[in-house]
Each structure stands twice: as structure tokens, then as C-alpha cells.
């Protein structure tokens, strides 16, 4: 999956996890600033990412998520890149 596809997929999943159909991916946007953000939908997002990409995120990786860009970088490290 290339970067563009990954960003598109992530945006879609963020919209669903936080019930914000118009949410846009911005690398520097703080996760905590997403309207409606709370620990429950953050966990739901983590579990959804793990299921969608067939990966398991380590606890220290999850603890290092602050921004949307952090989520993207995390996925990039875990999901093979293709052209």
C-alpha cells in the first residue's frame, strides 16, 4: 500500500472511529483535538486499525501517538509499502 492509499484508508477509519464524516487527515493535528475524542473511541480506533491491517500495535507504540501523523507513521512502519 503506497502512502496515498494509506492516508486515504486512515482518514476513512478516523472518520468512522470518531463519527466525524467530514474529518480530514492533517499530519500535525492532535488526536485529542478531534471533536468527540475520548479514550473509548481511541481504543476502538486502535482495535479497528489492528483488524484492518492485520497487525498488532505494541503498547509503547500506542503510547507514542499524539497526532494523526503519528498514527500514519506507525502504520507505515507496520504495513508493507508497495508502488
Amino acid at each position: 500500500m503506497n502512502n496515498k492509499e494509506l492516508a486515504t484508508r486512515l482518514t476513512s477509519m478516523l472518520r468512522e472511529a470518531f463519527s466525524r464524516p467530514t474529518l480530514e487527515y492533517r499530519a500535525r493535528a492532535q488526536m485529542r483535538d478531534i471533536p468527540g475524542f475520548d479514550s473509548v473511541n481511541f481504543v476502538m480506533m486502535i482495535l479497528a486499525l489492528e483488524a484492518a491491517f492485520d497487525i498488532q500495535l505494541r503498547e509503547d507504540e500506542v503510547d507514542s501517538i499524539f497526532t494523526m501523523g503519528d498514527v500514519f507513521a506507525l502504520l507505515r512502519r507496520n504495513v508493507p509499502e508497495t508502488d
Binding site: V43, M44, L47, D60
Partner: protein, 583 residues
């Protein structure tokens, strides 16, 4: 004062010279003796050995109460090197030769006497002496063998007093398959077949001791190594009449632990290797001088003489990196001297504290706080993390859990958290009613920060059930990774033995470090942290926030504590970890 290059004689009588040599762990002077207090006492003797062997002769008598309490186990170390051990069941003179490699050729010789069986006579109900006594000393001699030979010119103080020698210290690597064995109590439970006299089998899920002494003969652990008992018990109390139960636990006639119980408690009792190696059975006795009949108070029809109720006893191996904890007899009254203490930043004011910490530790307060994880007993430290700008997902961060229930949940591997159906949601009784997620089987309760008018009970139960299942997984991943320091806030203070039980439980999954935080009785200690054993720290804050106003937590006080814990973790605690890796 006896001095000289090759001979020092120490007289412990009131006319003697022992005050010059007693370094730590001694009572005040009595007419004919001085007592060893607590688990160890040290003599510091200036003796030039010039690289030759020494003879140590010590005449001492045990604190004992035959036939129940046989005596004391005595271990002798010189300059940090184990020399040997013996059972001391009566007044005797110990004589041992010390190799030149152990002595300090030109300087001070530190002779440490360890007594894992010390006890407070008061807790046995036979005396008002509340000192943790081990043995009383009448004299000691240390001399070099080039000047003197042991013999009749150095007799005991009475011809009937035997001279005994030491057995070699117990050492060596533990066997690989050391496993925890847990015995449960109650009708038909696994401890039943090992109970001897002094039990009442009336209850299904636990067992009361009955009378003043209860005996149990558990199978000894199969492998060589360091073990401890982990007990889960609570006392028979009657409000206003019987506030607590004092428990003294003996193994083969030697005291291995004393505990004052006023509520349910998990605690750890190290087993001296001298009493477990080569045995098939552990003959345990519980002495309970405060056992009473409930029928003697009020309307209870229960005429059994009850002491404590036992739910389980685990025989647990101490992991290699926590073997040092095996030498801790950890009653509150005999809190061990810390390995190290960190008292940085105590005088730094609130305004400049973050800058001072960042300048010293090269890490900002938020990053520092991320290295810690709350495991209860309420959400005060979680709030402190928030005030320091840290938002992390941790299982116990916003959880209210009394310590015994936390232990119960951990010993069960939090299995019920993996079952969303076990999670319930209820409204609390605060002025603005908040939905609270609960796991009744463990008595765990979490804030949802969702109020009555904001949520739906069914939806919350489903979503929080999933969330808690994930946080359980994350909790154990964190324990295995061993990166964090786990923080437990505890009011009222707990005995070291209880903190050790929690530390051991966390260390089943990795090399965890535990920081337990108490309110400082002395305000000048606020912010201080002690390293009591590898992986075990105790910190002090001046005050805890009220339970109904945790937002008022003193962030600066907590910040000092975690900064000092960080320093100890990077310093002396890391030395233990590195030594373990090297081994």
C-alpha cells in the same frame, strides 16, 4: 577498650566497651547485655589483619520462647561476604575462622549478624516488650591467628556454655523449574489435607483459625532456591472490642513473620533457605494471642475462638533479580534500611521545579511522567499526569481499587476483564451522577467521565467492556516490556511485606519496578524516595488529595517523587538490573 593490631575484645555489659563498636541495629545498654534489634546488627571493629586469617568468637543468646519458639537462625557476614550460619537455640559461643581474603588488611572490619527470625514479644501476647528482638550479646572477640590460637585461654563465660561452629552459607543457582504453588482454603479446598490442629472448617471459601495456635504442614518446595509465602487473610474483629489480630508465623519453631491485621491483606513472608533446603514438609504454625469468641461480644451466636480467616497461601519462588528481597523481613516496625535514598529537588519551589528537573534529568516533566503507570488505589496519580500534560491509556489510571482487591485481581491474571459480560455499569451517588464501570468480582471501579444525562447504560457497558479488554492486554504487554515504573498510592501506610507481595505479583510478567507512595509523617521528607530492595521504592508526598477532590492533588509534590524515583531507577536500581543481565 580492647585494641591492638591483632586482638579486639568487646564486652557488652554495662561496664564494657561495646558502645565503641556497635554500629547499627542494637538496643540500649542493659546491665549484662545488649540486644540485637531487627533483622541485622553490625559491629565495626578496627583491626589490622595484615592479610592473615582471623578468629571470631561471639557469645550470644537467642530471643526465644520454648517450646513454641525454638530460637534464632544466625547468619554472619564479614565485609559483605557470607561466612556461614547456624541455629542458635540457647546461649552459646559461636567460633569461626575468617579467611584473609575477606578481611580488610588495614582497616575496619564490618561484622554483620543477620537474624531472619527476630520478633516482637508483645505480638505474642506474653510481654509488653515491643522491640523486634533477635539475640542478646555478652561478648565478642576478633583476633588474628598469627598472634593467638583459639583455645582454653579464651573460654566461654561459663563452662556449660557450648561452643558451636558455623555451617557454610547457602548459595548456588536455583533449579530451573521453580513454580508457584497456591493452596486455597475452605471446605474441600487444596489446603485441607495439610491442616493439622487449630482450624474450623465451617466456611466454604475460606477457613478460620480456631484457638490460639493453628498448624499447617505444607509440602516443601521441590527446588533449591529462595522462596516466600504469599498470604491472603483477614482478621476476626469486633468494632470497639477487638480492633485487630496480631499474627506470628513460625516455620519449624522459628519466627518467619509477624503481621498486625486490621483488614484483609495480602503479604509476603520470605522463607529462610536454612529452613527450606532439603526438607519435604514445611511445618508452619500461626500464633494468634488475640483470638476471641464472637459470642462474647453482643448478639453473635458464634462461639468459635476465631483469629484470622485464610483464603490462600502461595509458596512462590523469588525471581533471580528479586532474591535480595528474600532477606527482607518486612514488618512495618522493622522497615529495612534503604539501599539508597534520593532527596533531590525537595527545596526547589513549585515555580522553578519543572525547569530544575529538566536541567538535571535532561527530560521534561511530561516525558518523565509518561514513564510511570498508576496501578491504583485511586485516580490521583492519573490526574497528576494530566496536570503535567500527559494523556496515556492505562488500565488502572482512573480506577478505584483497594489494595487487597488489586492483589486478588492480579493473582487471577485479570481474567474477567477479557469477558465483556463481566463488566457492569452503574450510576454513582455523586451530586452530578456519573456512570461508573465496575467489575464486581474484583471490586474494581472505573470512572467513565460520562454523566447521567450524557450516556446510555447498555452502550457504555458494551464499549467499556471492549476498552477494558484491550487495556488488560496493554497492561500485560507493558509489564513484560519492563519500561515503566508502576505507582501505587496507599493510604493508610502499608507494611513493606504487603508492597513486596504486590512487587512479586507484577514480576510474574516481567521485571517491574514498583513505587509505592505514602503520606509523609514528617513533612520534610515530602518528595523523598527510598530504594528498599531491587525494584521496590517508597516515596512520600506531604498530603494526598481528598477522595472527592482528586483534582486538588499537589502536582509539585508528586513531580518531586517521580523525579527522585527516576534518579534511583537510573542509578542504584539499574545496577541491579545490569548485574542480573551480566549473570
Amino acid at each position: 577498650m580492647g585494641t591492638g593490631g591483632g586482638l579486639v575484645v568487646i564486652d557488652f555489659s554495662a561496664q564494657g566497651n561495646s558502645a565503641w563498636f556497635r554500629h547499627a541495629g542494637w538496643s540500649g545498654q542493659e546491665p549484662d547485655r545488649v540486644w540485637g534489634i531487627g533483622p541485622r546488627c553490625v559491629l565495626r571493629i578496627p583491626l589490622q589483619t595484615s592479610g592473615v586469617a582471623c578468629i571470631l568468637e561471639v557469645e550470644l543468646g537467642p530471643c526465644h520462647a520454648p517450646p513454641e519458639i525454638s530460637g534464632q537462625i544466625v547468619r554472619i557476614n564479614m565485609n559483605g561476604v557470607a561466612i556461614g550460619w547456624t541455629r542458635l537455640d540457647a546461649l552459646a559461643m559461636i567460633r569461626c575462622e575468617i579467611a584473609p581474603s575477606v578481611t580488610d588488611g588495614d582497616g575496619l572490619q564490618d561484622i554483620e549478624f543477620e537474624f531472619p527470625g527476630f520478633y516482637q514479644p508483645e505480638m505474642l501476647g506474653r510481654s509488653t516488650d515491643s522491640r523486634p528482638l533477635s539475640a542478646w550479646f555478652s561478648f565478642a572477640r576478633l583476633y588474628t591467628t598469627d598472634m593467638f590460637r583459639p583455645g582454653p585461654h579464651f573460654p566461654t563465660s561459663h563452662p556449660d556454655i557450648p561452643v558451636i561452629s558455623l555451617m557454610p552459607p547457602l548459595a548456588g543457582a536455583p533449579v530451573a523449574d521453580m513454580k508457584t504453588v497456591t493452596y486455597t482454603f475452605g471446605r474441600g479446598a487444596t489446603a485441607f489435607r495439610y491442616m493439622r490442629d487449630g482450624w474450623n472448617l465451617g466456611e466454604a471459601n475460606f477457613t478460620w483459625t480456631e484457638g490460639n495456635v493453628s498448624r499447617l504442614e505444607l509440602p516443601a518446595p521441590g527446588g533449591s532456591g529462595c522462596y516466600a509465602l504469599r498470604l491472603d487473610a483477614w482478621p476476626m474483629t469486633v468494632p470497639g472490642e477487638v480492633p485487630r489480630q496480631d499474627v506470628t508465623i513460625l516455620l519449624d519453631g522459628y519466627v518467619i513473620g509477624q503481621q498486625r491485621l486490621d483488614g484483609r491483606s495480602f503479604w509476603l513472608v520470605p522463607l529462610p533457605r536454612e529452613l527450606t533446603e532439603g526438607r519435604t514438609v514445611l511445618p508452619l504454625a500461626f500464633a494468634l494471642p488475640d483470638a476471641r469468641r464472637p459470642s462474647d461480644f453482643g448478639d453473635s451466636p458464634d462461639s468459635r475462638q476465631l483469629g484470622i480467616a485464610l483464603s490462600s497461601i502461595g509458596v512462590i519462588p523469588l525471581p533471580d533479580h528479586l532474591r535480595a528481597a528474600g532477606s527482607l523481613r518486612a514488618e512495618q516496625e522493622a522497615s529495612p534500611p534503604p539501599i539508597a535514598v534520593s532527596r533531590e529537588f525537595l527545596a526547589v519551589g513549585k515555580a522553578t521545579l519543572p525547569t530544575a528537573i529538566e536541567a538535571t534529568l535532561k527530560i521534561g516533566p511530561a516525558a518523565l511522567a509518561r514513564g510511570f503507570e498508576s496501578i491504583g488505589t485511586n485516580c490521583e496519580f492519573g490526574i497528576v499526569q494530566r496536570q503535567l500534560g500527559v494523556e496515556v491509556l492505562n488500565l488502572f489510571r482512573f480506577c478505584n481499587v483497594p489494595l487487597p482487591e488489586l492483589m486478588l485481581a492480579l493473582t487471577d491474571d485479570l481474567k474477567l476483564l477479557a469477558d465483556p459480560a463481566a463488566v457492569t455499569v452503574e450510576l454513582n451517588d455523586a451530586e452530578r451522577r456519573e456512570f461508573v464501570v465496575a467489575l464486581p468480582a474484583y471490586n474494581l471501579r472505573w470512572h467513565t467521565f460520562t454523566y447521567e444525562d450524557q450516556g446510555n447504560q447498555e452502550t457504555l457497558a458494551r464499549t467499556h467492556g471492549i476498552k477494558l479488554g484491550y487495556l488488560r492486554r496493554k497492561f500485560y504487554e507493558g509489564l513484560s516490556a519492563g519500561r515503566k515504573i508502576y505507582v501505587v498510592k496507599q493510604r493508610p501506610p502499608i507494611a513493606v511485606a504487603q508492597a513486596l507481595a504486590l512487587l512479586m505479583e507484577l514480576n510474574r510478567h516481567g521485571h517491574a519496578t514498583l513505587l509505592w507512595v505514602e503520606q509523609a509523617l514528617d513533612a520534610t521528607r515530602s518528595g523523598e524516595v527510598e530504594l528498599l530492595a531491587p525494584g521496590l521504592m517508597r516515596g512520600y508526598v506531604e498530603r494526598f488529595a481528598p477522595d472527592n477532590d482528586v483534582e486538588s492533588a499537589d502536582t509539585a509534590d508528586w513531580l518531586r517523587v517521580i523525579a527522585n524515583a527516576f534518579l534511583l531507577h537510573q542509578g542504584p536500581n539499574a545496577v541491579f538490573r545490569e548485574a542480573e543481565h551480566a549473570a
